[in-house]
């Protein structure tokens, strides 16, 4: 299935490369990404520093790799947090119905009345300083999207015989939820999680570009881009590497997301 779709293969390859880069960045970057060396300040790409060095003489490749680890960790944790809490809340709300459901929907609509990035920026103001701040801020901003998708899907499941049968058999609502409802929402949740991972990756880069991400000297893609602006004319490679990394990662995730959507669409039609 996957092999027949070149865009699917490309997506999976890019995601594998990102994870590999994150692992190298976290475990064994070529240089210490925070090591300052003024003798090699702003040097262009060379055999010693493949992507050159920045204004502190730090190796750009090492910073890019360790930035990958940070960005992937933040985006991954956000996706995990939103997927689990969003799927549970959405399924619970859709299954419970009544005023509980209406309350959840009204609350989620209120969250959706803000652009996600604005909500995330405001949350960082509240959570200032905590190293989990970006994850929680982005998690809150994207939670309503997952709740909405899962709830809509659960509403279509609710009237189905197997859900009624589980209730008639005397199963508790919690058991019905976990055993019968949640497993049947895997496809839309998976498609949504893929999109979410991409959104979170982009939003994390945007937050750290604005200086609201993790504190320096920790490397991040957005932070590297923001710093590169001061040395634009003399050291354009500083702006190229992180930009290509973000774009490449998002392209891979988008291709994989399209592939997932097509795959599940076809499966439900069959």
């Amino acid at each position: 299935m996957l092999m027949q779709r070149p865009s699917g293969i490309a997506g999976v390859t890019v995601i594998a490369l990102i994870l590999l880069a994150a692992a190298i960045g976290a475990l064994a970057p070529p240089y210490d990404p925070t090591m300052v060396d003024f003798t090699t300040r702003l040097s262009p790409p060379s055999s010693a520093h493949w992507l050159g060095t920045d204004e502190w003489g730090r190796d750009v490749l090492s910073r890019l790799l360790s930035g990958t680890a940070v960005t992937v960790a933040v985006a991954g944790l956000t996706t995990l947090l939103v997927t689990i809490s969003g799927a549970l809340l959405g399924a619970f709300s859709g299954l419970a119905g009544g005023w509980l459901d209406r309350c959840v929907v009204a609350l989620m609509d209120a969250f959706l009345a803000f652009p996600a990035l604005v909500l995330a920026i405001a949350m960082t103001a509240v959570l200032a300083g905590s190293s989990l701040a970006p994850v929680v801020a982005l998690g809150v901003a994207y939670l309503p999207y997952m709740v909405r998708v899962v709830r809509a899907h659960v509403l279509t499941l609710r009237g189905r015989d197997f859900i009624a049968a589980s209730r008639v058999m005397g199963n508790s609502p919690a058991y019905t939820l976990l055993r019968h409802v949640i497993p049947n929402t895997v496809a839309p949740v998976l498609v949504m999680s893929t999109s979410l991972f991409g959104w979170a990756l982009l939003a994390e880069s945007a937050l750290s570009f604005l200086g609201l991400g993790l504190a320096p000297p920790a490397a991040s893609w957005g932070g590297m881009l923001a710093d590169s602006r001061n040395y634009f004319a003399d050291a354009p490679w500083l702006a190229l590497a992180p930009g290509i990394a973000i774009s490449g990662a998002l392209l891979g995730i988008n291709l994989f997301g399209d592939f997932c959507r097509d795959y599940f669409d076809r499966k439900t039609k069959d």
Binding site: A106, P115, V118, A125, A206, S247, N254
Partner: protein, 314 residues
């Protein structure tokens, strides 16, 4: 029509009230005395007491919320800690800057996306289609702030055609203002066109399978007439909704572009307020962003029946 409009308005009201409550709660989630937070790091017992009274901090939480909303309705958004001026006076000009950036970008993006998306759907599974889809997927993947930086590097720094920093408002000097806005508008238009092209293409593919299109063709209409007269109105339905979402989202979400091009817009104001811990200003920015987001979407919903026949019949 009027009944439709009134229903939509009433439906939006609870959302606005809960969203206002979220903004209100947000500031109270920050550890510390809200009055002290709003006053800033100043030791002034008299001012502190006055703010306590203004915020009705001795009253229960729902009453405090009510006082705050009533003050907002009077146009009293509080006083900025860092600028020492009414928050509303800061929000107005910033909103104008953001609107002059965002509205033209979305218009250009829509004008690019409609013909391109429809063309791709018409030529489905040909090279034209593949090329349009590839470019739009690519534009979806490039972060606006990086594209902006690259355009700035190329046209500003290398070719010296556009200014690299600073801002002149359109009201001050229209020609100069356009010069400063050109690159940021182009950046946003290119990025947002990517989202819209994919949507237009997908909607057109669906519409093309409907019987009335076959009927229009059987009547002997040219393909251009089929596209313009028959397909376009139904493609406009979902596209119009998406344009609203994009436009509303950008009114606060254009913050990264405003940062790249040093434009004193709404998003930029909010980020600076977050850095300065200027909570009344953060609150004010959120209120304006939320109201404009909800307002734009409401406007889109209200105008949708005028544009798309399918919505009218629902």
């Amino acid at each position: 029509m009027i009944r439709y409009a009134l229903t939509r308005l009433t439906l939006a009201l609870p959302t606005i009230i809960i969203a206002l409550f979220l903004i209100f709660v947000l500031i109270r989630l920050i550890p510390g005395d809200p009055a002290q937070l709003i006053l800033g790091e100043v030791d002034d017992p008299a001012a502190l007491a006055r703010i306590r009274a203004d915020l009705a901090l001795d009253k229960p939480l729902p009453m405090q919320f009510l006082y705050w909303v009533l003050a907002l309705a009077r146009g009293d958004f509080g006083t900025s800690i860092t600028m020492q001026s009414p928050v509303l006076d800061l929000l107005g000009p910033a909103f104008a800057v953001t609107a002059s950036l965002v509205v033209p970008s979305v218009v250009i993006a829509a004008l690019l996306a409609l013909p391109l998306g429809m063309l791709a759907a018409w030529r489905r599974n040909t090279r034209t289609d593949t090329a349009v889809v590839a470019v739009s997927t690519l534009s979806l993947s490039i972060p606006a702030f990086w594209l902006g930086l690259m355009l700035l590097l190329l046209f500003g720094v290398k070719l010296d055609l556009f200014p690299v920093v600073g801002y002149v408002s359109l009201a001050e000097d229209f020609g100069e203002g356009l010069h400063y806005l050109a690159l940021p508008v182009l950046t946003l238009a290119l990025i947002e066109a990517g989202v819209l092209v994919r949507l237009v293409r997908a909607s057109t593919v669906e519409v093309l399978q409907l019987d009335y299109i076959a009927h229009a063709r059987a009547k002997g209409l040219t393909e251009v007439a089929v596209a313009g007269r028959h397909a376009l109105p139904n493609v406009m339905g979902p596209t119009w909704t998406m344009i609203g979402l994009v436009l509303g989202g950008l009114l606060g979400g254009a913050v990264v572009i405003e940062t790249v091009f040093s434009l004193p817009g709404l998003g930029r104001l909010m980020v600076e307020a977050v850095f300065a811990r200027d909570y009344p200003l953060v609150q004010g920015c959120m209120v304006v962003v939320m109201l404009s987001y909800v307002g734009v979407n409401l406007l889109v919903e209200l105008t949708a029946p005028l544009l798309c026949p399918a919505v009218r019949h629902e």
